[in-house]
Symmetry: C2
Subunit: 470 residues, 2 copies
């Protein structure tokens, strides 16, 4: 490492150490607010959580802090312009609402009374997502202290929503409404995780999502399988054949046009994924599954992170009670979800699936297809300067090389990417054992402060290495 790196580290770390106790006290105060967005009885707590965060951001130094109302729970917006008008602009995304939690779910201590046991802070929201939002407050102050600045090296914006745990029903609308205020050159999402305690990683993409329900209509009502069986189309058979036709013998999605435009993995990404200490048996344990199965030619990590998929989330038709009922059912339905990767367009997928499904359905069976709202995939190219800054900042904080992952799931980050036209980066320090949505959620304190430190290094590195368009 260069001299400047060493000096940055030596300026940042003591500052963080010095403010460690106060930072944890503040975070604990926030964690005590049960901002459960899914439970109407906590609506006031979610509002209180927004107000608490807004006050704390003002205290941190953000000159502009606003609570943005929505038809649901409020979001918090904050802005701190750089001194240099030509500096890049970043918007940090996170959320201040949390999953429901009750002591009787199996918590060893009150989920809303934070407690440190060993080197871990236990509380609902410790990792998802209050801890990961909050590390930016000490991060930006450490950045200022270490560099002697009075404003961050980049134009810094924060958007911390209050409905993520309820499916972000108003998020897209909120972002569209405030697109001008939110304009940025990059989005930093702090609501994800790393590979493990020992293997810091950055995530470079999330899959998109398109969901549909296909309902197949046969006889006008359930009919007797003795009197009519074998001579009329059975919609449950048609539904099953549709699902069976979804994949070819290589477990590739067989819908014509499905792979159109798919951004293929580069050799470099495949190398990076392959370099992670992946234990397939352990992964299968997490998946509670007995075997892997997927698209031929790809590893398990490639399949869940970087390949588009089609999954049946539900199927139903006819008699499902105990015993038997000799009917040909009147209708059957399947719920399908398609995970999408960069280069795939949900609109194109919908068209392709509709054409394919209608083609499959046998004569005499009617087919209704309904698509829900879609989420676009996002992917940051490995050579993007902002991503390289993030990798450097994280490497400096962790004192070790930083690996690359992606996320198999889908999230509101895609809305930011799409509306703002900016790439999404993921700065998360949570680990799989943190217990998101589960009892005894915790955050590893060492990692939490590595998050602070990464935030402290990132803004300067971005300003130094990234020339954005004016």
């Amino acid at each position: 490492m260069s001299q400047s790196v060493d000096s940055a580290v030596s300026a940042v770390r003591p500052y963080i150490e010095q403010h460690r106790a106060a930072f944890l006290d503040d975070l604990a105060e926030w964690l005590r607010i049960p901002s459960v967005s899914a439970q109407p009885e906590h609506a006031a707590d979610v509002r209180r959580s927004a107000d608490w965060l807004a006050a704390k951001l003002r205290e941190t130094g953000f000159p502009t802090v606003e609570v943005w109302r929505t038809p649901g729970a409020p979001a918090v917006f904050a802005e701190w312009p750089a001194a240099d008008p030509g500096a890049p602009t970043v918007v940090v995304y996170g959320h201040h609402d949390v999953q429901p939690a009750a002591r009787e779910d199996g918590w060893e201590s009150d989920p809303f009374e934070p407690v440190v046991r060993g080197n871990r802070l236990y509380a609902r929201g410790a990792a998802d997502d209050k801890g990961q939002v909050f590390f930016h407050t000490l991060g930006v102050r450490a950045h200022l202290a270490a560099t002697g600045r009075t404003a961050p090296a980049v134009h810094l914006k924060l958007l911390i929503e209050g409905e993520e745990e309820s499916g972000s029903p108003h998020f897209r609308e909120l972002v569209e409404q405030h697109a001008g205020r939110l304009a940025a050159d990059a989005v930093i999402v702090s609501d994800t995780g790393m590979w493990s305690e020992d293997t810091p990683t950055v995530c470079t993409g999330m899959r998109g999502l398109a969901e549909c329900e296909i309902r197949l209509h046969g006889p006008g009502q359930d009919i007797h399988s003795g009197s009519f069986g074998g001579a009329v189309p059975n919609p449950a058979t048609a539904a099953a054949r549709l699902v069976a036709a979804l994949h070819d013998e290589h477990a590739r999605v067989a819908v014509p046009g499905f792979y159109d435009g798919v951004a293929e993995l580069t050799d470099r990404e495949r190398e990076l994924f392959a370099g992670l200490p992946f234990d397939e048996q352990r992964w299968l344990g997490t998946a509670k599954s007995r075997a892997t199965h997927g698209e031929a030619g790809y590893s398990t990590l490639e399949r869940v992170w970087a390949r588009p998929t089609a999954e049946v989330n539900g199927i139903g038709g006819g008699y499902q009670g105990p015993g038997s009922k000799t009917i040909i059912p009147s209708s059957a339905m399947v719920k399908l979800s398609f995970r999408l990767v960069a280069g795939q367009d949900p609109g194109h997928i919908e068209k392709a699936v509709r054409a394919w499904a209608e083609e499959q359905v046998p004569a005499g069976t009617r087919c209704d297809i309904t698509f829900g709202a879609a989420t676009r995939p996002c992917l940051t190219p490995l050579d993007h300067p902002a991503l390289q800054s993030l990798v450097r900042a994280m490497g400096r904080a962790f004192d070790q090389p930083v690996g690359h992952t992606r996320e198999g799931g889908s999230g509101p980050a895609a809305d930011l990417q799409e509306v703002l036209g900016a790439p999404v980066l993921f700065l998360g320090i949570s680990v799989p054992s943190d217990g998101w949505h589960a009892p005894n959620e915790k955050v590893e304190l060492d990692l939490l402060f590595k998050g602070v430190e990464t935030s402290a290094y990132l803004w300067g590195d971005l300003a130094e290495h990234w020339r954005t368009e004016p």
Copy 2:
């Protein structure tokens, strides 16, 4: 027609005409007893119905009449030996219990207060099955009167069960228990129908039935389709692929060994079926379906009457509620029923299906297969002398040629065939418009008396033309 035929007709018809009013009064009395076996509150009525029938059979002249108790509702057994010890023995099967019925279901009159409107007798059980059981009482008396006998020309037995509308739960056991008393050269089932008012027919077979439930187990619990989708086997997909693999591209059942031993249709049977006035559009209306679909190379009637089938009666797995849920379901299930034809053995089918299903299931998916009780198929060869007697007797009663049908469904007749080792014939005069199990069930009075007449001719014809083994 020969001289003897004419004289038989001229002796039988006046006798029936003379007793018509009393016969209808008696039948109405029986129909007033609401012998609904499915409803516990009618248990005493079902017993009363058995007692009523037993008394009436004694009055008819049967020297032996017994009410056979079962763990459920009682059956009635009656026996009237022929004078000639070498005469064939037949056992008539029917049932004295009825489907539930209530005025508010859409009945134009009280279902248990029989009424004649036009040339039809309306009441629950008029066609299914009291009317069709009862015509044998006047039938046997007309037979005696016309031939001057004091006992029927054949050894005549009746077995009228009380649980048919509840799935005959104790019937097999009853038949096995009394196999010696029931021993017969042929079984005459009077619980079916004819093609139509204008087209009298005999039914020559029923399909058998084997039912199973296949449950496929994937992940230990529902798992996130974003985190794991595309990389582990999905049991709903496996269930769908199993169902899709049930049939080949010719809609033939693709389970290896499924067609082993199948009695193929003869050219003569195909001709007879093809000779029926079948209107496919009208049949589709009854099936409430928009198109026919089935095994290549067979007509619709052949498909439902004479070909074995595999149908999905139910399929289910994962999320089936409103909206979407991005999971890979933990399990999925399918309920299948197989209709079997003569030559197929349910035990062999079970083995074949198990072997096939286990072969289909992908690695990492566990498969539980449960088979329920099976019903064997039954089929009477066209050249069987007893069937020829039945066709002659019916032709004489109807004054017109008699067509041939089969039944696509399955019934307790198969138990009699199997336990007694005797062929099953079907003497039914009900027509599709009679409304079995529906409101306003009725029997056509003209057809009811054609049933009486057929019964009157049948016993003499059987004794005359059928030489059974001693």
